[in-house]
Symmetry: C2
Subunit: 246 residues, 2 copies
């Protein structure tokens, strides 16, 4: 049994997982950000990624349902507000549907979840289940992919604005909001994980949870890419180009 | 609200789902049975499909854990014996590892589950969760893909024997045993579903469960095909050709 890593070494290990496994390295993202996606490929991404967005607040509610400490629940609650919105301010899911409209999709079609790839559902549902069932430390550690999100969102905003006609500030509001929301959330989550993962066993569990989460994200792009880019082989019943348009 | 279908019409609807969505239609199976797979593609299939085999008795135990009627548990129990074996007779999982050896893989490597595609795990775990949580009728209906299994196993045995050097009767014992096991199981499962799905709502739920199960199977082949056939893009950390050989 090796001893615990120092706080600094453990944080560096978590960041290495991102450097090696985060989905900014997936070829679909290079294609999207580099302007090489067709409009239908972007639409397929919007249809499928909606499923992930739609499950994030359910995941956060599952987490909060397991927390006895009101202060911790309070710290976590803003994540749900960010996605679902408040009386005064629309949330991330509504902003995602703005993006859907901007690429010519009927937002009601997208919000219906019809046409989502089964593989997308299996991956995303695995994440919700993970947060519902695994130890709380692992559940928080899985959220630390947000450490790596601002960099990809900045590249995405720049790449989409440069290459695609649909990309207006309003269409991209989702990503711009995440630039300020994600760092606040992840500062809390990272502090929690570094404070609580103080044995080697706990550190390994937290690192494993972060690897799991990178797999959830990567698998979504693999499925998307297989169905809509190359070889373009789609399972029965999923979104077909031309479907669900405005 | 439309009324219930007749028993015959409902059974025909279930069989149509198989005709349209069962994974015998997936191009990977055409490739496998037609002798166009490389040995490494067959190995990748064996490594990943092992995960499915390994979870089937866990799925059946989850089902039995919800059944109050000893007679129904007894009828179901043979499925676990088929996969796990008895004191006298090896089971399906051991036979699967014979196939692994026949294609040159270390059975201990395969049984470790290392190298399995995350997308395989997400799909298979979704099936176990479905059987653990959904209504019992849906859980049984999901197992009815076995209606369509004997035909694919017959084609597989013939195709593998014709095209691949590794294919000996001992290597293919898994499939040959399923030829007699699956029809017995499915006769029971089909009778149960036809007896219990007597409202339109229940019939729709059962049909939806069967569609879900076809998605679980199809998604596994999509992931396999994307990672090892075309475009051959593998997520970080999965089985690489040359790994885990005898």
């Amino acid at each position: 049994m090796s001893g615990a890593e120092t706080r600094e070494a453990f944080e560096a290990r978590l960041r290495r997982i991102g450097a090696e496994r985060y989905h900014d390295r997936h070829p679909f993202h290079e294609r999207l950000h580099g302007g090489r996606c067709t409009l239908d490929e972007v639409r397929a991404w919007v249809v499928n990624r909606w499923y992930y967005q739609s499950r994030i607040p359910m995941k956060d509610a599952a987490f909060m349902s397991r927390i006895e400490d009101p202060a911790l629940r309070r710290a976590w609650r803003s994540r749900i507000e960010d996605h679902d919105g408040t009386a005064e301010k629309e949330g991330g899911i509504a902003r995602w549907l703005k993006l859907a409209e901007a690429v010519g999709l009927d937002p009601d079609y997208v919000a219906s979840g019809r046409g989502v790839l089964p593989a997308t559902r299996f991956a995303v549902d695995a994440y919700v289940r993970f947060v519902r069932e695994e130890p709380l430390l692992a559940a928080v550690a899985a959220s630390l992919t947000e450490l790596f999100a601002p960099a990809i969102h900045e590249r995405r905003i720049a790449g989409l604005l440069e290459h695609y006609d649909f990309a207006t500030p309003s269409a991209l509001a989702y990503f711009r909001n995440r630039l300020s929301e994600a760092p606040r959330d992840v500062a809390f989550g990272l502090g929690f994980v570094l404070d609580h993962a103080v044995t080697r066993e706990a550190q390994d569990m937290a690192a494993g949870a972060l690897v799991f989460k990178t797999e959830v994200l990567w698998a979504q792009l693999d499925a998307l890419s297989h169905a809509y880019v190359s070889p373009g082989l789609r399972p029965p019943g999923v979104w077909e180009p031309g479907e669900g348009l405005l």
